[in-house]
Amino acid sequence: MSDLIGLFSYEFARNAMLAAVFASILAGTVGTFVVVKRLVFIAGGVSHAAFAGLGFCYWLGANPLIGAVVVAVLAALLLGWLGESRARSQDAMIGLLWAGGMATGIVFIHMTPGYAPSLMTYLFGDILTVSRGDVHLLAALTIVVVGVLALFYRSLVAVAFDETFAAVQGVPVRRMTTLLLVLMALSVIMLIQVVGIILLIALFTIPPLIALMLANRFLAVLVLAVGAGLVTSTGGLLGSYWLDMPSGPAIVLFGIALVVLVRGAVWLRERLWLRRMAWEPGGARSGQAAGHQE
């Protein structure tokens, strides 16, 4: 334990912890919308497209994160504009952005003189290299994203649940969906810091999946997903420290282990509940059954 306290006397460890907290807040809140609205592959396309911006700014010598933010938001706006009504072109466009972004980024990094060690960092993430400046940027983005989510919360949830009904109620569904995509693009940038482009889909999906197994109200799912994100990222981080593994894959694998564990626990609880029902047939309270979100 003193080992751990010693670790946090280093600035890089504190920065890593803060980055993990901000990433968990975003993975939990925005990720829940991404999972229930089935935007997971759009998130994948946007994150890989962001690599083009990373590479460009790397080549310019500017902060690569700025380029990533700009390209990710542009990609989100493009996909939002194509919309679900043109599902086929949107789907194909995801593929185009995905590969095109990676190709552009690699070309720019190739053009940059000298060895590019940070290429791997952006692809697989290295939370231990997060600088104090990055932490400030992450904090600002987190405040903006969560603030906008809170502001439009009612309409966003209604659109996520039932688009047609929300439209009849006068909610601008297309604009709300595009807003959600932009918030997702901003969150993607943060998750790139923690687990990298290739693995960040895991942070968008693992915490909401865990939360959806445990709660049946949207707000409760959001809060639990943030918690699950914190457990996943800190647990993975500590695991990587003890087992001397790269941090990104450690976080992802720890998260997946957590999903399996929680699913098992929910299954067990259901079995026990069913058995108790069999013993006392008068005590049926169907509202208590858990684990219906697969």
Partner: protein, 261 residues
Amino acid sequence: MSKAVDPDAVLEVRGLTFGYEREAVLRDVNLRVGGDDFLAIIGPNGGGKTTLLRLILGLETPWRGSVHWSRALVPGAIGYVPQFSTFDKNFPVQVRDAVLMGRLGRGGLLGRYGRADYRAVDRVLEQLHLDGIAAMPIAELSGGQLQRALIARALVGDPAILFLDEPTASVDAETRQVLEGVLAELNRRIPVVVITHDITGFASQVKQIACVNRQLFYHGSGKLSHSDLAEAYGCPVELIAHGVPHRILHDHDHQHAHAHE
């Protein structure tokens, strides 16, 4: 046809033509819904029933023609009960929260739910016998309970008209009974429009019938003739056999609703 809006009509559809891609699904549809109407819109699958509803709700823009509302349409004034297939049944939401979304139209984009909203939800939950399962996730509801929850969501905004899109025919006895009572009471104040392929569930309440199959054939009497149905369906026999009140009408003029008045 006069340009002025019929003062007794809540809703008037005029010369509506619309389609997807290049093919017209609806052609020159005219319809008038009066203040105390209980209108059933029936017709074969793919005939354009749901498309007509989407046009009326403003979810699609017509190629030609228009939809007129008698009063300025404030958000929340349209009560809408969608088909089960249009939303995710596994969405993490309890009955009470789902019904609360019916108050969304009030208060605008940045609004928050207030005490009046929660009181309205409690009232409508009781009215539809849902108060006992208000905290249940919708994923665990039976078909009938879900149907009632969707109707509660449509009613909680105190709408000026209620649309039901294919309410399930196979609902439990409690739902059927509650539904009948609620719709009858509602129909004393506002018009009710039911889109259905199975009119038998509402046979005792329906006052007007419109058959939609590319065109709209209107029957102000709420009674159908063999020839009307034959025209709309091609094969009407099964529907008649289910006990729809019908008689042979010789003098019907089915194209324009206004012609009946």
